[in-house]
Symmetry: C2
Subunit: 288 residues, 2 copies
Amino acid sequence: MFRSRLDQVASQVQAHLDMVMAPLEGPVAPAMRYTCQGGKRLRGFLVLESARLHDVDPAHAIWPAAAIEMIHAYSLVHDDLPCMDDDDLRRGRPTVHVKWDEGTAVLTGDALQTLAFECLARPECHPDPAVRADLVLTMAQAAGAQGMVLGQALDIAAESSQTPLGLDEIITLQDGKTGALIRWAAMAGPLMARDDPTPLRHYAQALGLAFQIADDILDVTGNEDAAGKRLNKDAEAGKATFVSHLGLDGAKARASDLVEEAVSALQPYGPGADNLRDAARFVISRDS
Amino acid sequence: MFRSRLDQVASQVQAHLDMVMAPLEGPVAPAMRYTCQGGKRLRGFLVLESARLHDVDPAHAIWPAAAIEMIHAYSLVHDDLPCMDDDDLRRGRPTVHVKWDEGTAVLTGDALQTLAFECLARPECHPDPAVRADLVLTMAQAAGAQGMVLGQALDIAAESSQTPLGLDEIITLQDGKTGALIRWAAMAGPLMARDDPTPLRHYAQALGLAFQIADDILDVTGNEDAAGKRLNKDAEAGKATFVSHLGLDGAKARASDLVEEAVSALQPYGPGADNLRDAARFVISRDS
């Protein structure tokens, strides 16, 4: 039931991404389209569901849904580069620098980031320019040097450090690397409706952390074919993770508690938020 | 006289960049500040002068001036990477991937692009959110896959191609790589004042091309110490340039004609636009 709703959203987001990128020409356009294929579209799902809860026109909400998936895709392309995580496989296919080359991968990520901001600023995204400017501002804060890029940079710094990170440091790192975009996605609905984003911020805060703990668990227990990427990297690199700190059972228990916390935060929305409750349960049960 | 006005603007833009980046923390922040030091600030100058001609409050105009310099700086950091132009020297100092490492250089460029859009979307940039959304939209169009990134990608593709580019192809390439940002900078004033940008678009169109021809001339005739970067690269790489197509004298003549064209386009502004006229003459007489 939830999985089919997620697949349905994934198709809508994909169609919109294809439409936005159709007019693009030049050597980087094919790699941009390639990068934006596949994936769970969890972030796009959060945008569309939070928008639905706040009665935002889906024809508007699809723009920030596409934009957040572009930001996510850009971060993956750059993160997969040899000078970063050096990954050959992503979503079951060769990464961009493998299929094309490193220069193309850098430019593809650059152009996807730019296009994400273009989507938010386009008049079709929302009739109120104040909403569009706010979407840009909050997205920039979530994705930038104090958000996602900070998390990435802390992650890279940790890899070359002699002392493994403590649990609090991992939480800070992940709050930037994954948490900031997930939070933005879940708050996009109230932001577009100019409503109070507090309940969804609490929901997304717990969800983002549960998501990352589940990622660490998946890295240890997962199946590479299902995941579509290389696994067991953290243990091989001797990297501190939620699992190395809490143990496998401890990590699973913490993730479950966070899901309960996320579900409780949705209380003001009543049964209308059941899709988001299912999404929270999904993030700790997924195999990819 | 013009040089001192340009230096004055450079100080203002630098102070604003420093102010915006002062609160940033984490491993990438020092490299972001480093990247945003120095440079002629021609793009920031064009923003502030075009804003002055359209009676835009300089306290507002300094935001897009800083933003365009951040976009320019991000493009240089990524362009200098080993997988792109592989340059060790920029503005007379080691490039970011040399002073830090490649991963830091990728993230520094990424975060500077994000911060540029944040600057345009911040309420301090302009009281009218429609203007802020427009600045974001037009900047994204200028910097993205159909603007600056397209130019960069065509440039990289040309390097690995067997057939040298024709003159028209070089013009298309440069229109993206340098022209799009210069055009945006010169049009930022009318854009913020909601005035007709046509005369400044014509000015910037000619100016951008003159700028690039001058760059090609400088690559052949320039002094590396004054330029603060490696020169004579294009000839060594057997790359087609304005100089290889037109000859040195032909290129100089074409650049002069374009400067005259740029100066003529400013006619509606009368003597108030003398700084912009001087800027046009400056771009073909500079040594860096």
